[in-house]
Amino acid sequence: MPTITLDHISKSYGPGPAAVRDVSLQVAAGDFMCLLGPSGCGKTTILRLLAGLEHLTTGALHVGDRVVDSPEAGVFIPPERRRLGLVFQSYALWPHMSVAGNVAFGLQVQRMPKAEIATRVARVMQTLGIAQYADRYPSQLSGGQQQRVALARMLAVNPDVLLLDEPLSNLDATLRLEMRTELRRIHQEFGTTIVFVTHDQWEAMTLATTIAVMKDGALQQTGTPDDIYARPTNSFVARFIGNPPINMIDAASPLGQRLAGQNAIQAAIVGIRPEAVTLTQSGLPARVLSIMPTGGSWLIDLALDADRLLLSTQTRPNLHNGQSVGCAIAPQDIHLFDIHGTRLPQPALTGSTVPQSIPMRQTQEDLL
């Protein structure tokens, strides 16, 4: 199973900003890589470049030790010879072929003997639970079933790499959950390298082994889901990942200055995840503005003088609006970003301004 290497690739369509700008990325064999970003950030373009449906403007693409696209080297391997699988967002099932016909197409193109095609088609349809629809036409299937056919069609040819373009976005919530489990199973069962495009952070966090966050055609951060959540490389990634969203506090405000500590001079923004805020008796004085239950957890809107802070907790709060409380934040949970949004080192644990913000669990119990 080959490693995919994106070597400073760019893609532009005529004048204007490029769709993909100088992206370098490596997808290891067996990886489940998620390209995550808001719509229009160039993630689908990267997928189409990988598949060979678009041509690079600059840079080079390697699959294993084979160059598949490089304007400098004058190499372009067309999509039909890349041995990749691509599942489209709209599934792109051929409406004039039965389900079995759709799944068999890739093998027929390879001129595989008929008997072998039949066994392989049967096996892959069995695995995906669509064997009973073999003779139906795509328009007679539900969205979830169509999705499975689209997957089966690509898995049948046993591709080196499976590319998925927002494959779950056309499904309803229940089916999405089901297909997500299914995808994880396929990844483990077939051992295929998967590159998955999505704008849904929840999907990315639950599925991926590696996430690459993109914005405006440029790569922002690559890392494991935990890594990206815990150490966002810039304020965009910090804001984009996490729900409820991270608190972003102006470093010049009284609260911001206090939290930023020694780094207050370089810092422009202080980021605090809502679940990193804890309630204490003696911490920073705050007032409860409102309490919003979200089913299973609660969001508490706090006012600290002119600053606002959103707190998220798994324990039912025993509070009322307007009540005065104290709150605390662990130093390792404080994210600092400079004026360009780039991450700064975390404030030191020692120093006279910080001790107050160490959580005091015993008093929190009384309050909640």
């Binding site: 449906l53 999509p79 792109a92 051929w94 409406p95 193109v109």
Partner: protein
């Protein structure tokens, strides 16, 4: 104890009246239904029954009372020793013409569509509009241009250019089947181009991308994905063209008359002109039957095609094929079609209107007399065509009759759409939709004959309408209903009920809702629903040739009359004027919709 139904009944009726008053959808629906039964169904039934009853003046020949039941007409036209000459010959010619011109147009048109939409041929954007131009011109423009060039000594009048140049074109080239097929092919190519081109563009690019990712070559993608997906569009185009070709009248009329070349539509015309109503009914019935069979086939194919509905998606892989050194050749082919289909015929017609003697291109032979001359040395038509009051009368008739009829059918179409999308009686909606669509199955010339059969004499409160503009107007309205109702239904279905219901809740009555909400929203739909029928009505011949009299001449019949009297230059000038109006109207539609003609035809 007795039950007391009366207060309950009274309340029910009061309630129904109140509801009908404020929401007259059903009332309008019923009125429309009655109108369509009278304007569309009644004429067709009338002419179909005509063939079974002894017609006026035939009593002695048939040997039965006028109005008695008889199989005389069917027997005479279909079975008598004359039948081969009267019916089966023209039927064979009709079917051969329609089938051959359809097949050649399909092959050439599909090839051109592929060049236009899937290759890197030069000037594709320009050609995609330029090659549609023949569709905007009346089909017999080409027939006239053909005779202008190839007319030989077989008939009198001014000779053609070939004859003037010393070549004597044989009859088979000058008249009859060969030129009819060539010209009909030429006029159908743009239609194929539109329908197939639309199909090509509508195929989701991802369907092709996906096949290529799986390892399919260009050829395999074309063979296994593109062509099977296009099949419904191809078949539908073929059937529509065939059905249209069956009813084609003007081209075989202009080119067939000199050599007694007959097709069903010209036979029908001849029967009507010689007042053989019963025979005309048989011809009209035959044409209708072929038309109905074709359209039923098309509807069946379209239902099959519904399985092929796909979700459109993004994906914009460059689907064009590099032609390499064939690029120039391909551009040449498209250019040739433009020259043959547009430049040559129009130039020939124009030059013929500014020369005394056809085909002689020396300077003394040129003149503007036929356009703007005065006191010419001719028996009639002593002034140039632009100074002839009959032309302006005919032009005014064309524009006013066709214009009013189009306006009426556009409004009726929107009303049909309104009722179909609103009514709570599915039967009423279905009946309106089917009835409004019916004229589509009846070729214009047969429909005109049907009108003549119903409206030539007084029926009940309706006086005889033949010779008035009303028969033309009503026939046009009915003939345009298929397109008008389809666009009305589409527009209303798209709009949905919400905007109107919101207005209702806000306190607006029915008229206010129509004029303040529905009207303004559907303005564009209405303009298109009026302009499209206007264009086809202006260049249409078949309805007018049967229903117009010299006092109600329109441009098309006026120019055919001029041809009959051998005023070639004047006739060609009138045709150029018609072409100009038709082209202007189409151009306007395209500007207004920004979508191009193709999309209007696809549905």
């Amino acid at each position: 104890m007795r039950t007391m139904p009366s207060p309950l009944w009274g309340a029910k009726i009061r309630r129904s009246i109140a509801m009908g008053w404020h929401d007259p959808t059903t009332l309008i629906g019923v009125l429309l239904l009655v109108t369509f039964l009278w304007l569309i169904l009644a004429p067709v039934i009338s002419i179909l029954t005509d063939m079974f009853f002894v017609q006026m003046g035939d009593a002695r020949r048939v040997g039965a009372e006028t109005g008695a039941f008889t199989f005389y007409y069917l027997d005479r036209i279909l079975l008598s020793p004359m039948a081969g000459f009267l019916f089966w010959g023209p039927l064979r010619e009709t079917v051969i013409n329609a089938a051959l011109s359809m097949m050649i147009a399909m092959i050439l048109g599909s090839g051109l569509a592929w060049l236009l939409y899937r290759t890197d041929m030069w000037g594709r954007a320009w050609f995609s509009t330029a090659l549609i131009v023949p569709y905007m011109l009346p089909s017999w423009t080409f027939a006239l241009a053909w005779t202008t060039v190839f007319k030989n000594r077989t008939i009198g009048g001014q000779p053609g250019w070939a004859e003037a140049a010393g070549l004597s074109p044989p009859d088979w080239l000058a008249y009859g089947q060969v030129p009819v097929i060539v010209i009909m092919t030429l006029t159908y190519i743009p239609l194929v181009l539109l329908l197939v081109g639309n199909g090509l563009r509508r195929i989701d690019a991802q369907l092709e991308d996906c096949a290529r990712v799986l390892g399919a070559s260009h050829g395999t993608v074309a063979r296994r994905i593109v062509i099977p997906l296009l099949r419904p569009a191809l078949l539908s185009a073929a059937v529509l063209i065939f059905a249209d070709a069956i009813g084609e009248f003007a081209v075989p009329y202009v080119l067939g008359l000199p050599v007694q070349y007959e097709v069903l539509s010209t036979s029908l015309f001849r029967a009507i002109s010689s007042r053989q109503t019963g025979a005309a009914a048989v011809f009209a019935g035959a044409i209708m039957l072929i038309g109905i069979m074709s359209i039923c086939l098309d509807l069946y194919l379209m239902r099959e095609a519904r399985r092929f509905v796909t979700i459109g998606g993004k994906g914009a892989m460059d689907r064009t094929r590099r032609l390499g050194r064939w690029r120039a050749a391909a551009t040449g082919v498209a250019g040739t079609f433009f020259v043959l289909g547009v430049v040559l015929p129009l130039t020939v017609l124009f030059i013929s209107t500014i020369t005394y003697i056809p085909g002689r291109l020396n300077i003394e032979n040129f003149t503007l007399d036929y356009w703007i001359g005065r006191d010419l040395d001719t028996i009639a038509l002593r002034n140039g065509i632009l100074f002839t009051p009959e032309l302006w009368q005919a032009a005014w008739n064309s524009v006013s009759i066709v214009g009013l009829a189009s306006l009426a059918s556009g409004l009726l179409g929107l009303l049909v759409g309104y009722v179909v999308s609103r009514t709570s009686w599915p039967l009423l909606g279905a009946a309106l939709r089917q009835l409004a669509f019916m004229p589509y199955m009846v070729p214009g010339i047969a429909f005109a004959a049907a009108y003549l059969s119903l409206f030539a004499v007084a029926r009940g409160p309706v006086p005889p309408l033949y010779g008035t503009i009303w028969i033309l107007m009503l026939a046009l309205i009915a003939d345009q209903m298929p397109f008008a109702s389809r666009s009305g239904i589409a527009a209303m279905a798209q709009l949905g009920r919400d905007p109107e219901e919101a207005a209702r809740v806000a306190g607006a009555g029915w008229w206010k809702r129509m004029f303040r909400i529905i009207g303004p929203i559907q303005r564009t739909a209405l303009v298109i629903g009026v302009l499209m029928p206007f264009v086809s009505g202006i260049k249409g011949v078949s309805l007018f040739i049967i229903l117009a009299t010299p006092s109600t001449d329109v441009l098309t019949t006026y120019s055919l009359r001029l041809i009959d009297y051998n005023y070639t230059q004047a006739a060609n000038a009138v045709v150029l004027i018609i072409a100009l109006i038709a082209w202007g109207g189409t151009f306007l539609v395209q500007k207004l919709t920004r979508t191009g003609l193709g999309d209007g035809l696809g549905g």
